[in-house]
């Protein structure tokens, strides 16, 4: 029997190394005994996840473990796919009030040429804190102005921006006017009409298309002048052609309607962001088949008449209407709190499993990376979180995080400072003895 297993694993080992052509690829890690919540597929009350290199090779109740595999005992723990933050400033902002540390906003209104991932600071103090709470990937986005720039998807590990970027650009960020609320008790302040911005945006896209035509015509006919290089139009071309999604930050009911109409008329790929009054137009959003990423739920409702709980129940209403939803931290320093936005929505009507989906597989689908992440499935990247309870619960502790098959360091500025000053109290206790 033993011989037979050995023989088979030898065969498997040989084929795998033949396939990858390297011996490193056969570094197996077997996470044993965890209650596996794969998000896609049935829960496995006590099973094994086998990691080979950076991928999940298999998971199930009884998975043969190749000899030499590193065994991780996860009994009593829950295994989840790593969470994905749908919008944040990780690596782009350190200390809010210090401009020198903020790189998520460019000057002016029209900046389609800027890329968030090109300002990414891999050793931001906020990244390890988010990672230690089970977040393994995040959309980092520029904000401010009208066309804010290009967002990108990063993994929360790596020494250089290049090592961290999964895909960039993921979307072109555009911001329709926010609903200005000077204070909860005050009336909504007058604001710029979104319809004006729609006209402006259409104009930009048409210019970009015309610019493209001129380039193409010039390429065919040497006698035609080749257009001057235009950075703005060049950057907008992938959007105008429908290749790069437009991620539109839009809040008010009326503006959402205008945005839907615009996206459909221009035949664009789109993702909506924020959408605080989405619950008022859930059916329309569903019909247009536009996914939604929510901003932080830790805000007051944009207008009092929406009800005190409007931001909390908004995700539930949209999800029930069939809209694909995802949550975001909308932050750098609070990026670790991503799961609690989802849980808050669950407290106000969202199905708990849908809440989990909306921080894992749904954002992966929205950003076009569900083939490699968002769930624990054979062949996907091994982004795995081992926690001692419900991943969205406040009291749950994350014990281990694997990103692309590698166990991540969970120490961070919180733990480092705590350890440093614990020493002072330990000294005191010694003195007292």
């Amino acid at each position: 029997m033993k011989k037979r297993i050995l023989f088979f694993s030898l065969i498997i080992g040989l084929t795998v190394s033949a396939f990858f052509g390297t011996e490193e690829a056969t570094t197996y890690i077997a996470i044993k005994g965890a209650h596996i919540i794969p998000v896609v597929g049935e829960d496995i009350p006590e099973g094994t996840i086998l990691i080979n290199g950076n991928r999940i090779e298999g998971l199930g109740k009884d998975i043969p473990i190749p000899p030499g595999a590193k065994i991780v005992d996860a009994s009593g723990l829950y295994a989840y796919p790593g969470m994905i933050d749908g919008y944040c400033y990780l690596g782009l902002s350190e200390i809010g009030s210090i401009a020198a540390t903020n790189d998520y906003r460019e000057t002016g209104r029209i900046n389609p040429q800027v890329k968030a991932t090109e300002a990414l600071r891999p050793d931001s103090m906020h990244i390890p804190i988010a990672r230690a709470n089970g977040i393994t990937a995040a959309l980092v986005a520029p904000s401010g102005g009208f066309i804010a720039g290009q967002s990108g998807l990063i993994k929360l590990t790596g020494w250089t921006p290049e090592e961290m970027v999964i895909r960039s650009p993921v979307a072109m960020q555009v911001e329709f006017p926010a609903m200005i609320r000077a204070g909860f008790r005050r009336e909504e302040a007058p604001r710029e009409e979104a319809s004006k911005q729609v006209v402006e945006l259409k104009d930009w896209l048409n210019k970009a298309r015309y610019y493209q035509k001129r380039k193409e015509a010039a390429a065919r006919n040497l006698l035609l002048p080749f257009p001057e290089f235009d950075e703005t139009l060049e950057s907008l071309l992938p959007v105008a052609n429908g290749d790069l999604p437009l991620m539109i930050s839009v809040q008010a009911e009326k503006d959402i309607r205008a945005a839907i109409k615009f996206v459909q008329e221009e035949k664009l790929k789109a993702i909506f962001y924020g959408v605080s009054q989405g619950w008022k137009v859930a059916e329309e959003i569903k019909k247009a088949d536009i996914p939604v990423v929510f901003g932080s739920l830790n805000n007051m409702p944009p207008s009092w008449e929406d009800g005190y709980d409007s931001l909390y129940r908004n995700p539930s209403v949209l999800q029930k209407a069939g809209v694909k939803i995802a949550f975001s931290s909308q932050s750098a320093s609070s990026a670790k709190d991503l799961p609690y936005h989802a849980a808050k929505a669950a407290a106000f009507g969202l199905d708990k499993r849908e809440a989990l989906n909306a921080v894992t597989i749904y954002p992966a689908q929205i950003f076009g990376v569900s083939d490699i992440m968002g769930s624990l499935e054979k062949g996907k990247l091994a982004n795995i979180v081992l926690a001692d309870g419900d991943l969205l619960e406040l009291r749950t502790s994350v014990h281990k995080v694997f990103i692309e098959g590698k166990e991540a360091d969970l120490s961070n500025r919180f733990t480092e400072l705590l350890d440093k000053f614990k020493k002072r109290d330990e000294e005191r206790k010694l003195e007292e003895k």
């Binding site: 350190e94 200390i95 809010g96 009030s97 210090i98 103090m125 906020h126 909860f184 008790r185 830790n298 805000n299 007051m300 009092w304 008449e305 009800g307 005190y308 709980d309 750098a332 320093s333 609070s334 670790k336 709190d337 799961p339 609690y340 849980a343 808050k344 669950a346 407290a347 106000f348 708990k352 969205l392 619960e393 406040l394 009291r395 749950t396 502790s397 500025r413 919180f414 733990t415 400072l417 705590l418 000053f421 614990k422 002072r424 109290d425 005191r428």
Partner: protein, 444 residues
Amino acid sequence: MKEADMNKKVLAFFLGTIITIIPCFSAGGNLLIKNGTILTVTKGSLPKGDILIVGGVIRQIGENIEAPEGVRVIDASGKYVIPGIIDSHTHIALSGTNEMGEAITPEVNMSEVIQAEDLSIFTALSGGVTMVHTMHGSGNPIGGQNITLKMKWGRPAEELIVPQAYKTLKFALGENPKQASRPAFGGGSQRYPASRMGVNAIIRKKLLEAKNYMLQWERYLEAKKSKNPPKTLFPPRKDLRLEALAELLRGNLLARCHSYRADESLEFIDLSKEFGFKIACFEHIPEAFKITRELRREGIGISVFLDNWAYKVEASEGIAYSAAYCTRNGVLVSINSDGGERIRRLFNDAGKAMKYGGLTEEEALKLITINPAIQLGVEKIAGSLEVGKHGDVAVFNEHPLSAYTRCEMTIVEGDVYFDRNQYLKEREDAEKRGKDMKKPGGEK
């Protein structure tokens, strides 16, 4: 379009009235909450118990309590019943926060600018909060006098005030009073002080002035008592600013000091010893975990954010573990909101203290109930569910420290001020009415 706007206004009106109507349905301070899981915070928990409130005061906690005649009964089966949450540091329900005209303004009193109609009171109730310490801002080294209020939404300002609470005076150190966001050397504010040196110096100077002022009055009163007071004996000039500081030095006002860095907090402790005034609490103090030894020795509590940090340099070492770590090292800790949004999720912050530092459920709940009550000097009337204390209660659908929980009902002195079910029902009615209103001209 006009009709839509009209409908919105009608809806807003109805929603507005709902909220004002709620207190009118109260049973006049008599209430029986039945069959809830009762977490008393100080006296353990009852898996299934009742609380009888009569005349606004808890009269009985136990099982199978009969409702006296005419007392409204609330069925809390399957729900969690906890003491009303107390926010030790916020700025809601005020029509002003900072008197920025000068750096030293202890004469201003927040009790004179209470805004009872501030919707933040309703927001607080929707998060189970029944009492707040609402404070002068942190713009001045010595700010104004603060006030403690009950969240009796719809009642006039004077009925909100909690007379039993400590009288407190706001101090502030560090970046805010030195106006770091408007640096004096970058062409911004030219106000003194502009450094931590100046902040300390100006506080000391004013306290010395106050001592001098007190001495002048003592001398005057002494002279007046003498057998033959001179005809030229005039009382010293009354100075309300120094009068307030004299009250601090006499121990009638307690200092609540906004501080961030460990070092500046230690300096302030030294000042308090130099002048013999009492510090009730340090506010925010993200670096408290660095000086648990001193805080414990001096018996000074801290009122903190659980993990809101890195919004400025002095907050960039504010670790999420601090609240639990300080608790375990003998410091009295409360979690505050500082404002009108966080105030409705203080129970979430308390839950995080279990994750970051491993507090027990009871220890975590204390951070938002009995601990802030002790800091405000109201632990005899609030902060836990005990016979004889005020009937200030919050009801949650799931365990209040769970991320999935939701506040269902908030009760102040036996009156229901927030009832989610009723809110939903009336919102639905208002929306229906809105639709009815739309029919005549809206659908063509």
